[in-house]
């Protein structure tokens, strides 16, 4: 399994590297500047020493010309300090070395006879300052071993780097701790998600969350809510369906038992007829359940520009013959075009369910009126019947799954799912359905109104 890099590890590593690099950079700059300063300081000392010697030599020449080639014995130039051995001087009169420190080589310290120079004498590198006395009789050369200077700068570098070696691991620990503290809300969140039962879909707490994580949690919560709704819907549907199938099943079984126990042919025949009618009704209910399950899970992806008026016209034409058989007439009143963005098959099913309901609740001689109208930026389809209507207190229950009006129950018609299907299809198309009794108009019956958002005109882009 590929190991995931930890966010904490990545942040801490980067922080450590950056801090280390910055520190090193700063140390390097400091060291270079310090070395420069030190060089200048050392050089200044060389220069000062040389000028002292030149002055000294001038005095000797004035007062004591006889001792011109005197050699400083070791005793005359005591090693005053351990650095003393690293510094040497020579006093040249012409080609003759008249005075020198004990640790000075016999050859000139530098070929350059004026100012600062670097040289190599007998395998040893020197930094040398050369100066003439005023009358150019005597050349004074003061040199310092480069190795001595390097010792100093090395010590300086070590001084700069040593704390780094101690501080960097300490700093890494501190960075790690800081990162840990920083991502604590994330850890808490991960813990909260990890500790959840798979069916727990309550939202995650979003207080005290850093701004970067909040969108993630918000999206997660939206997802949780959606999944929970779907779960709940499925669970309720399954429960309702199983529950609702028990009663007709009990009816079928009871009718079968009645038929078996019937003492005469007429009552047996009657029970068997009831049994068959019951089976047909149940087949219809199962069919409706399947349709509802399909529309419940439908998404508006396959929507196309459609014409609600055309859909209504088709459905009415299809339903008129059966309605006329029970002496119910259907009228359609529709605007020329009612553009809608949707699935024409679902829309036809919606209209068909409404028309069938209206016809089913109508008596012989009644009229069912279907209207499709544009209203503002919406469409309105209404189906109006002159049946018994629905008691006001039952109106809100219309469209509830498996709810049937006492009237439908009495007639033994319907599955109680037709209006649920209608409402779901309306919802899918961004619309809604309103039921109201016609009583206000002094006439019986129910009006179902569907409001849908207006679609683009066909052909226009």
């Amino acid at each position: 399994m590929a190991r995931r890099t930890s966010l904490k590890f990545r942040i801490a590593l980067r922080a450590c590297l950056l801090v280390g690099l910055l520190w090193l950079g700063a140390a390097a700059v400091t060291w270079m500047e310090a070395r420069q300063e030190a060089e200048e300081l050392f050089d200044a000392h060389l220069v000062q020493a040389a000028s002292l010697l030149v002055a000294q030599t001038d005095l000797r020449i004035e007062h004591d010309d006889d001792h011109a080639d005197e050699v400083f014995e070791e005793s005359h130039a005591p090693s005053l300090h351990r650095y003393g051995r690293r510094v040497a001087f020579q006093v040249w009169a012409g080609r003759r070395l008249t005075l020198h420190s004990a640790n000075a080589p016999q050859l000139p310290l530098s070929a350059v006879e004026e100012g600062l120079s670097d040289s190599q004498v007998a395998g040893e590198r020197w930094r040398v300052y050369s100066a003439w006395n005023e009358r150019r009789q005597v050349l004074v050369q003061v040199g310092e071993r480069v190795s001595a200077r390097e010792d100093v700068t090395r010590a300086m570098a070590a001084g700069l780097l040593r704390p780094l070696l101690v501080a960097l691991p300490l700093l890494a620990l501190l960075i790690w701790w800081a990162v840990q503290q920083g991502v604590r809300p994330l850890d808490a969140l991960a813990g909260a998600v990890e500790g959840r039962a798979p069916d727990k879909l309550t939202p995650l707490p979003d207080q005290e969350l850093p701004a970067e994580v909040l969108p993630l949690v918000e999206r997660l919560n939206i997802l949780f809510a959606r999944v929970a709704t779907t779960f709940e819907r499925e669970r309720r549907f399954t429960a309702d369906a199983a529950h609702e199938l028990r009663t007709p099943l009990a009816g079928l079984r009871a009718q079968a038992q009645v038929a078996r126990a019937a003492g005469d042919d007429a009552s047996r025949q009657r029970a068997l007829d009831q049994l068959i009618a019951g089976c047909d009704r149940m087949a219809h209910a199962v069919e409706q359940m399947l349709v509802l399950a399909r529309v419940e899970n439908a998404r508006p992806e396959d929507f196309v520009p459609a014409d609600l008026a055309a859909v209504a016209r088709e459905v009415v034409a299809e339903r008129v013959p059966a309605a006329l058989d029970s002496e119910v007439s259907i009228e359609l009143e529709a605007d020329a075009a009612a553009p809608v963005h949707g699935n024409p098959v679902w829309l036809a099913m919606l209209v068909r369910n409404l028309v069938d309901n209206a016809v089913g609740h109508s008596a012989a001689g009644d009229l069912v009126r279907v209207t499709v109208r544009r209203e503002g930026d919406g469409l309105r389809l209404s189906v109006r019947d002159h049946g018994p209507g629905v008691p006001e207190d039952e109106l809100p229950r219309l469209g509830q799954r498996f709810w049937r009006s006492p009237e439908s129950l009495r007639r033994g018609a319907g599955s109680g799912l037709g209006l649920s299907i209608v409402m779901r299809i309306a919802e899918l198309h961004g619309g809604h359905v309103v039921f109201r009794n016609n009583d206000a108009d002094q006439e019986r019956g129910l009006t179902v109104e569907l409001a849908l958002p207006l679609g683009r005109e066909r052909g226009s882009r």
Partner: protein
Amino acid sequence: MRLLIVEDDPLLGDALQVGMTQAGFAADWVSDGVAAENALAGDLAANFDALVLDLGLPRRDGLSVLRGLRARGCRLPVLILTARDAVEDRILGLDSGADDYCLKPFDMGELGARLRALVRRSEGQSAPVLEACGVRLDPAAHTVCVDGAGVELSAKEFALLHALMLNAGRVLSRSQLEERLYTWNDETGSNTVEVYIHHLRRKLGKELIRNIRGVGYLVRKR
């Protein structure tokens, strides 16, 4: 024995009414909660020996019908017949005053037996076979014996004898007996109870059923 069936599903309601009639009950059927309350309002509840009650009813829920019944002290045996199978529903049903709880789908034979048991217990009997003055009546098998010999009775004769023997030691008026015998759909003649009593006395002997003049009829215990 007269039953009131409250069931909103037309197929099942019809089957219950016909099937319970086949089983020897006089069965009436209503299909919503309000109709059930009307049928049981006031003294009318006394006309029934048992109530078969669905829970999910239009207009008024079965449980509120049941609670209303118990609230006014009605002791009518009630059997809940429902598709709600959750334990909580069953507990709620029984604790709301039901005497038995039956789940759909069910067996007609079992439902009949449960109803007979409910009625028997509500009348203070526990033996399934009723006995008085040498007459044995078996409600389940629908048979009557006098001193061990079987006697053929018509359905109404049997129902009348059953009602009297269930209430052995109590006087039942003619109208009380009529209520127990006939559903709303039956045509009743003016003296049919007297006719059936006459037939029963002829078949079972004169001692069993005593006529209390001006009050009604009585079967004595033992």
